[in-house]
Subunit: 191 residues, 2 copies
DNA sequence: TGAATTTCTTAAAGTAGTTTAATTTTCAGC
DNA sequence: GCTGAAAATTAAACTACTTTAAGAAATTCA
């Protein structure tokens, strides 16, 4: 079933078919209905999670009830609370399916062993982790320096597939603006 | 000379005195005058950099001339462009001394070897890296969710030593507001 | 297919933060 | 201790974004 993960491992992590199959032998497949949760506050993230199909969002809820979107992800992406996964501490995040989704989960203990065994896999995850860090740094600088219109246009350029796929209010929450203001921006943008 | 680094390695990375001395044998000491640069755009970060004494700031300059502060650091902290260091790509950042400073530099090739040799050192840097990631994530959520006043008060709580030590306009640029507005916030805060 | 729910839009009034500009204060370095 | 430069303050006018509210459009799933 985890065909997309196998493809990813062979083409991106440069594993042989046999190596990829070995990784897949540890994988649990998880199916989520729309609105179902993959992770909730208080839980510890026990797996690396690859999206085979569907779409998910990770977000926090503040004391005042406001939601802040950390990540939007679709098939072919990894989604996780890396903090909770790496430190094995309780998460403060929700990860929820925004469309029916199928995920491949690699349990941390199994992955830790596999990483030592297959250098290609280590490099792949090291690279993913570095890219996650850099993307976060970019986002921090973006928020410091640019107004909402610029942030939105760059978001559309950078992630054209996401802008179509997620409700506007989630995109607004990712960008740090209200859905009403995003709606205004979009209508100005069209004319 | 690198006494603070030795202390850090022995108490935080839990290295023996002999191990710490081995690390120190690879260290270059660099002295910076106020306003001197440790890193500039286009350069590749070749070292892990520990602040023995003094204070530094890392920041970018946008096309429109505006500055955005990524990190403020004082003695006992590490400061770097991790992206450039890890990927060995050209940096887009400035790192500048805001006070006369002394740094201990560990060249990347030497550190890569040391990390394999001393597990304590690996765990120490893995932990540092995870914390850097988490701090960045916190900052992203902070900026999405809180207004300037809240961000400033939390900054003061979290880093009381920094608020005193750096010019206000750098703190403002770290928080993503103008120095004028930070000045207003501060005067409201006092009364 | 149709009803219920969720999402999006529009607009007016309000607010948080910026800009500009002039003045004062602080501080580095001789 | 002086001096020039850098940093901080203040205030008024302005703008980007939020809030509130109400109606329209789209989507889900029974």
């Amino acid at each position: 079933m985890p065909e997309n993960l196998q493809l990813e491992l062979q083409t991106k992590a440069l594993l042989s078919e046999a190596e990829a199959k070995e990784v897949l032998s540890h994988v649990q497949v998880k199916t989520l209905k729309r609105k179902e949760f993959l992770l909730q506050p208080g839980m510890v993230s026990q797996h690396m999670r690859f999206i085979e199909s569907g779409a998910l969002r990770s977000y926090t809820i503040e004391d005042d009830g406001s939601e802040h979107t950390l990540q939007l992800g679709v098939e072919g992406w990894w989604i996780n609370d890396l903090y909770s996964y790496l430190t094995q501490q309780a998460s403060r995040m929700f990860i929820q399916a925004t469309e029916p989704a199928v995920l491949s989960l690699i349990p941390k203990p199994a992955l830790d062993v596999l990483l030592r065994k297959h250098p290609g896999l280590s490099y792949y995850f090291l690279d993913k982790f570095q890219k996650a860090y850099v993307a976060l740094q970019e986002r921090t600088l973006e928020q410091l320096g640019n107004d909402a219109k610029d942030r939105y246009t760059r978001f559309c350029e950078q992630y054209p597939q996401l802008e179509q796929r997620f409700p506007q209010y989630m995109v607004a929450s990712y960008l740090g603006i209200t859905p009403e203001f995003l709606s205004q921006l979009r209508s100005k943008f069209r004319s």
